[in-house]
Symmetry: C2
Subunit: 301 residues, 2 copies
């Protein structure tokens, strides 16, 4: 059977999506989110919101989804054979923001809850999520701020949490074929059930709530910095790496596409405009060449 936990997580996630949309509309100052509510044949649905062609955000997408199925696919229960074949429910909020100004970093946040149910049995559940930052022209003070917010929100849950989720993020958002991370990292966690539901739910809320504290100050600081064609072209080129990561490696994207998820909601993470260039290398000593130093894991706090 389903637990009452689902409704609590559902309430938090919908409210989180609303709050983030409201804050991003204020930050943008021009465009609004448009919502598509959708349903899934197999059960459940979601509300996908996209702000397009804004003043600050070239595209900002944030989706809430709550989907269920009658039987766990084998891949989902590989690590937990005791729940093979159970019915399941998955809830999450996922966002990717692509700012217009190359001095404002791209960002991604996701929080999710998963529950596997069986008649007469307690549900098996876990949380996952995190947030990460992908700058084009990184500033040390911005990256330090980002990681300080991440560290501070983890602190109430134990000293080991931040370093563990920080390392996991560096390992997850890694392009093996480029030998570089997707950005400067942040937090990543999955399969979280340690310490009971209340503790885990509180941590997931802390991550979701902390996101705007981590991101908005950087937007405010960099949104009006001057830039020209060089910076724009570099941004478009680097967005290509975002596409490579999401389509080649990202488990959420690939699982979503393979399992018949709503394609447009899954691929709204892709940048609105992108450039690929064969064998591009920034000239030594340029601002563009500096980025490579930031795509190797580093302690920031």
């Amino acid at each position: 059977m389903q637990s009452g936990q689902i409704e609590r997580v559902d309430g938090f996630l919908r409210a989180l999506q609303d709050r983030i949309c409201a804050a991003i509309e204020v930050a943008d100052g021009a465009a609004r989110f448009r919502e598509d509510a959708w349903q899934r044949d197999e059960g459940g649905g979601g509300r996908t919101r996209v702000l397009a062609d804004g003043q600050v955000f070239e595209q900002a997408g944030i989706g809430f989804s709550r989907v269920r199925g009658p039987r766990l696919p084998p891949a989902a229960s590989a690590r937990r054979p005791e729940i093979a074949g159970r019915s399941w429910t998955a809830l999450g909020v996922s966002l990717v923001f692509h700012p217009r100004n190359p001095h404002v970093p791209t960002t991604h946040m996701n929080v999710r809850y998963f529950e596997a149910q069986a008649d007469g049995e307690l549900p098996v559940w876990w949380f996952g999520g995190g947030f990460d930052l992908t700058p084009f022209y990184p500033r040390d003070e911005d990256v330090r701020h980002w990681h300080r917010v991440a560290r501070d929100l983890c602190a109430p849950f134990g000293e080991e949490i931040y370093p563990r989720c920080k390392r996991w993020c560096d390992e997850y958002f890694y392009l093996k074929h480029r030998n570089e991370t997707r950005g400067v990292g942040g937090l990543f966690f999955d399969d979280l059930d340690e310490g009971g539901f209340e503790r885990c739910f509180a941590f997931m809320q802390a991550v979701g709530n902390g996101f705007l504290d981590a991101y908005l100050p950087i937007v405010a600081l960099r949104r009006d910095e001057a830039y020209g064609d060089t910076e724009r072209e570099f941004q478009l080129y680097r967005r290509g790496r975002y596409v490579e990561f999401n389509l080649v490696y990202d488990r959420g994207t690939l699982f979503g596409l393979q399992s018949g998820g709503r394609t447009e909601s899954i691929l709204m993470s892709l940048p609105p405009r992108v450039r690929f260039e064969y064998a591009y290398k920034p000239a030594a000593g340029t601002a563009e060449a500096r980025l490579a130093d930031y795509l190797v894991p580093r302690d920031w706090v």
Copy 2:
């Protein structure tokens, strides 16, 4: 041991790359191919040629590679367990051309040869390849021409060859998450060893040689057609599907990236500029809406 067959295939493939480059430079009339010769630590290497910012071709990439390894990876011998662990050599020419004018279709061609060797044993070998066309504003007469050339080059090898390779192409270049083919198809074949080396090598040569006959007349006919922002934006949007296919589904791309291939040579297939747009749908009755009718397999000859 290696067979003398490798040197014959090698000679054909290098000459094919040279001929195609010469013809494309003439067709373009402005830009030239730049060559990067590269070597692979594990054995072998290649020559990657890219023509960028041409008059007709926004980007044209064509690579020759000849690589070898001491032991077949398990995936490569899954269907042929008798050759597990053998040393191997793989040769191929692969190209993707991205024209500037949206009335000129994007195209891809690949021909390849694979050989697995063991001391005191005859080598096990097979051929693969094909070519396919991805128009933005398809014309029936162009698509018929394309498939007629494909059919005619297959004819000397038996009546069943064209329908089989045509169907295989439609099945291979298929985006499941979009329920559409990548383009209007062409030919695809793999694991070809039927009828002996001479016959198979001749077929692979016919495919490689036939490519320019299939493609260049379409380029000549459409290169000067007028277009504006609408067509350009639609082209950039549709190129997004090319990126989706190559990074999510294409076995050559994924195997190359996973096996430590030269990243820049593998990803030169990606279009120079791309656009993604959430939930885009062309208005009914427009030239852009027509394309969908061509992304369902059809008999063209």
